[in-house]
């Protein structure tokens, strides 16, 4: 795999914790790679498993569900 490979990651972030954590990372200017596309959800439990699979099938390099 090439060194400059930038994976495209779909992130499902719980509104109450992971998404808030992302906000805080911003306030604290913690730098991280820009590969994730965050989707805010009301609870990590609401993410349908099919959608995770669909994302992977349709080209996402990874899916992260945080909550």
């Amino acid at each position: 795999m090439a060194r400059d490979f930038e994976p495209k990651i779909i992130g499902f972030l719980c509104n109450w914790c992971a998404y808030a954590g992302g906000d805080l990372a911003g306030v604290m200017r913690i730098q991280y790679p820009p590969g994730m596309r965050a989707i805010r959800v009301m609870c990590s439990g609401m993410v349908p498993p099919d959608l995770v699979l669909e994302a992977l099938v349709k080209g996402a390099d990874g899916v992260i569900v945080m909550g």
Partner: protein, 950 residues
């Protein structure tokens, strides 16, 4: 909207009387205009002055221009005038913040203001101060680098702290592996400091820190806690203690007497004596002093300004039966200003103070509060999405990293986008007006804001839309600041690409948005209180005095509960007269309907509108109510050991209180008395600590000593848990000659009748001998066990913990709310507690319930689950729902009965677990439907979008 937040302010005086006070407040200059500040942090970045950061307990440094912490409210910067170079040194100096502030918010002309407010009541809840151990030299604090206070260590553990949770030894920067905690630093100590009380929280926080530390050190490290008594007197605290023991946290009952720098100036060397008298020297990488709580620094000042009395420890003086009343009418005490206490107690106390203030001011309710109104909404049915995209530069916060112009141009190319523009600050008042204008002119019906976090700013934009008659749920935000510009500062190209993706995702979702309605439930202004003990009656009085009709349901034949058998409080206030008055007040209150021999048969509905059948005296009646308080109580267990029941010299606490009330001379005639603690508590069968027994026994021992100073009084205990200010009683008892002998669970005392004598044998760990005590009275601290609430748990679909105590919604922050909205818990049905704490908790429950009953209608958030045509009633979601909000119903379909589920909007929290569980899209969450999430996924992967219209 109805809270006026005055930061950097202090009260300077209180005049007037209850109901009509005039309070003067000194508001210090912030030097930053709160309306202009957008919390971009550039002032702090450019400020050259580094100062010690109080928030991080001095372990880190901040700038002179600062915010207190990342999530502070209000999220506005301030300039600290004591350290600011310009303010200190005057003209011509610095002004970096002014120069770089993108919004011109810096205002060095800001002046101190003196404000005056007319208020009906005052609540004092200034909190406490953490004890500063630098005055006690043998702890080595500030002289040995690897000695920290509990608060400093807390900051060190925190991911937002100075080392971001990566532990390090201040002396060397290496990861500490062997950490010790020393308990009771600045507590239970009248020798080096004057804090004779127990701080009540340190045992638990040390244990928590030890357990959290384990996860911060590769391999777990080694944690040791040096203690006098482990005080785990709260709900499930004992379990936590057991868990900590199992996890291998070392608990040593000793106080290190020598604390020195470790070898080479790194680490800490400590000496202590073990219980069996051996001297041990041990080295640790780090020592944490479990510093206690003290009255706030300005307690005396505050007392002088407000005219309230303080206790000798400078906490606010409150009454035993009036736990939130100060000595001055109309001024209430909330939180740890009344004495050291943990978070849930402080939160409950604060609610109780609010409830008492509300009770006193009931005639003026709703006279000064405002409610916002909106114009009627346009009907958007049939309209195609016309999306406006507003890209915020946030000064330079976003624009410095993300190419906002390119972003606007890109947005214009997206399907459904009718308009796009860039704002310097989308959240500013001007931009809001501009947004409203554009919406009107362009006939927009969806809005995408590419700016900061929806968690902080979505309500603002929703509000703007609603003011334009557009449903608030038609706005979507793309967080290109917190989740992008701020975290990819070194990568502007990829950040711009990411921002485009984010906007594309938001636009895709905006296309799928449809108007949502906030459901309104009319609130029934009546309450139900279950349980007629002290807690139930206090709650009923609190609610009735706030003007709400209250039905009180007591299952036994009379009101009063356990208090009928109690003698005095820990402070010696007789309980009976207070109880009699309370019963009279309840029975005579025009708004309280007190039903005895009564029980609740069923319940339907949810917050704002419940209905129940209540059986009382053979009759059943139906009542509706907006909220309910469950004060179901607990009872004293019947001991099955220590000859209880077979020897009439053996009493339980309640039995002994009866003896002291009815025939005190009989108790006084005894030559000796022995108390045994933890009878049926803290063992395998009942793993909880009953909280109130240690204080009760010590108080009873003192009473005996007072009546007959010659009497030999022994208390056999496992850990003395006279928490908080009750520690004074323990000290007094030792001074009065009460003998305390510690025993272990493995080595319990034995009680035998030998001839006419009652002999208690116990191993004394101090003399290391087994001793025999010939006693005339044996008092057992029998465990407090919750009353059986199985029936109610089924009726209200609420929960108890494994011990049978009713559960609260959150153990720290919502100590009297139950998980289901509209239900509250109070008294010893939630956990054993002394009478004052029961009253305070009940008043808190009344306050919280009152806050619901005060609303004419309940507005429920619109992010809720709903059932679609695809539901076939398979009921998978029923078990998945954590809030029991889903039920199954039958309905007629094509002449046949079909099953499908139904959601209770009031119970649903919109978590959407049902949506993920449903195999067929039969249940979805508004605002986060599968289609909407899918649209975002597709947009993220840049797949072609199907134009969707709602």
């Amino acid at each position: 909207m109805n809270i006026n937040l005055l930061t950097l302010s202090e009260i300077t005086g209180v005049a007037g009387e209850a109901g009509d006070f005039t309070v003067t407040v000194r508001k210090k200059p912030r030097y930053i205009d709160m309306d202009k500040c957008i919390a971009c942090g550039i002032c702090a970045e450019k400020c050259p002055k580094l100062v010690s950061d109080e928030y991080n307990a001095g372990t880190a440094r901040r700038k002179s221009a600062y915010i207190q912490y990342g999530q502070t409210v209000p999220l506005k910067y301030a300039i600290d005038p004591d350290t600011c170079i310009f303010i200190q040194k005057g003209k011509g100096k610095c002004l970096a913040c002014e120069k770089f502030c993108p919004t011109g918010a810096i205002n060095f002309q800001d002046k101190e203001e003196l404000l005056e407010f007319n208020v009906g009541a005052v609540i004092l809840s200034p909190g406490h101060k953490s004890f500063d151990p630098s005055g006690i030299d043998f702890y080595g604090y500030k002289t040995i680098p690897d000695v920290l206070t509990g608060l400093e260590y807390e900051r060190m553990l925190s991911p937002s702290g100075p080392v971001r949770g990566h532990l390090e030894k201040p002396s060397s920067g290496k990861t500490p592996e062997n950490i010790a905690w020393i308990q009771c630093v600045g507590s239970r100590n009248t020798n080096q400091c004057d804090n004779g009380y127990c701080s009540s929280v340190c045992c638990m926080y040390a244990m928590k820190q030890a357990l959290v530390t384990e996860t911060h050190i590769p391999g777990g490290g080694r944690q040791t806690i040096f203690f006098m008594d482990m005080r785990c007197h709260g709900k499930e605290f004992e379990l936590y203690y057991n868990y900590a023991t199992e996890r291998g946290i070392r608990f040593i009952r000793a106080r290190p007497h020598t604390i020195e720098p470790g070898p080479g100036g790194s680490g800490v060397a400590m000496e202590y004596f073990t219980e069996d008298g051996r001297k041990v020297r041990e080295e640790f990488d780090l020592t944490v002093l479990s510093t206690g709580l003290e009255a706030p620094r300005d307690a005396i000042d505050l007392a002088e300004k407000t005219g309230i009395r303080l206790s000798p420890y400078r906490f606010a003086e409150t009454g035993g039966f009036e736990p939130v009343f100060s000595s001055k009418e109309g001024i209430y005490i909330g939180g740890s200003f009344a004495g050291p206490m943990n978070i849930p107690t402080a939160v409950a106390n604060a609610s109780a103070a609010a409830g008492q203030a509300a009770r006193a001011l009931v005639s003026a309710r709703n006279t000064l509060t405002k409610q916002k109104t909106y114009p009627p909404e346009f009907n958007l049915t049939g309209q195609k999405p016309k999306i406006g995209v507003f890209v915020c530069s946030c000064g330079v916060n976003i624009a410095a990293t993300v190419d906002v112009n390119a972003l606007v141009d890109y947005a214009k190319t997206l399907p459904g986008v009718a308009y796009a523009e860039n704002n310097l600050f989308s959240c500013s008042t001007d931009a809001q007006k501009q947004l409203a204008d554009v919406i009107r002119k362009q006939n927009l019906n969806r809005v995408v804001i590419a700016a900061c976090s929806p968690r902080t700013h979505e309500p603002l934009f929703q509000d703007t839309l609603m003011e334009q008659g557009i449903n608030g749920y038609l706005v979507e935000m793309a967080n290109i600041r917190n989740h992008n510009a701020w975290v990819h500062q070194k990568n502007p190209e990829q950040a711009t690409q990411k921002a485009k993706d984010q906007v594309r995702m938001a636009v895709a979702k905006a296309q799928t948005l449809y108007p949502l309605e906030r459901m309104e439930v009319p609130v029934v202004g009546r309450s139900l209180v279950i349980g007629g003990g002290v807690a139930g009656m206090s709650a009923a009085l609190g609610l009735a005095d706030q003007g709400y009709d209250t039905v009180l349901v007591e299952h036994s034949g009379e009101l009063g509960g356990n208090a009928k058998n109690l003698h005095t409080t820990a402070r010696g206030e007789p309980i009976r007269p207070m109880l009699d008055k309370m019963i009279r007040d309840v029975q005579n209150h025009p708004k309280i309907d007190a039903l005895t021999n009564a029980r609740v048969l069923n319940a339907t509905g949810s917050v704002g509108h419940f209905e129940s059948d209540i059986e009382a005296g053979g009759e059943t009646r139906r009542i509706s109510y907006g909220a309910a308080v469950l004060a179901t109580g607990a009872s004293e267990s019947v001991p099955d050991e220590y000859r209880y029941g077979t020897d009439d010299r053996v009493y339980t606490h309640l039995g002994f209180d009866r003896l002291m009330t009815e025939t005190p001379e009989k108790a006084a005639a005894a030559g000796s008395a022995v108390f045994i603690q933890c009878v049926g508590s803290r063992d395998e069968k009942r793993p909880w600590c009953s909280r109130l027994c240690c204080t009760h026994s010590v108080k009873a021992a003192l009473d005996l000593k007072e009546k007959n100073p010659e009497m030999d009084v022994f208390i056999l205990y496992r850990d003395m848990r006279t928490y908080g200010l009750n520690e004074d009683l323990y000290t007094r008892a030792r001074n009065a000659g009460v003998l305390f002998i510690r025993y272990d669970l493995e080595n319990k005392p034995q009680v035998a009748a030998e001839g006419d004598d009652l002999i208690v044998r116990v191993f004394d760990p101090v003399s290391r001998k087994k001793i025999a005590i010939d006693t005339d009275l044996l008092i057992l601290a029998a465990a407090v066990v919750p009353n059986n609430v199985e029936e109610l748990v089924n009726i209200y679909r609420c929960a108890t913990n494994q011990d049978g105590f009713l559960n609260e919604a959150h153990p720290k922050l919502r100590p009297v709310d139950m998980a289901a909205d509209g239900l509250f818990v109070a008294g010893i049905g939630a956990y054993p507690k002394p009478i004052g704490e029961s009253i305070s908790q009940a008043q808190a429950a009344a306050s919280r319930a009152g806050a619901i009953l005060a609303q004419p209608v309940m507005h429920l958030d619109a992010i809720k689950s709903h059932v679609t045509q695809y539901c076939d009633g398979c009921a998978i979601c029923l078990d998945a729902c954590p809030y029991d909000a889903i039920s199954i119903t039958t309905h007629a379909q094509n002449g046949r009965t079909a099953k499908r589920v139904e959601t209770d909007k009031a119970l649903c929290k919109g978590c959407g677990i049902c949506q993920a569980a449903c195999p067929k899209g039969g249940i979805l969450v508004h605002g986060f439907t599968i289609e909407q999430l899918q649209a975002q996924v597709h947009a993220a992967l840049d797949l072609p979008q199907a134009m969707t219209a709602s």
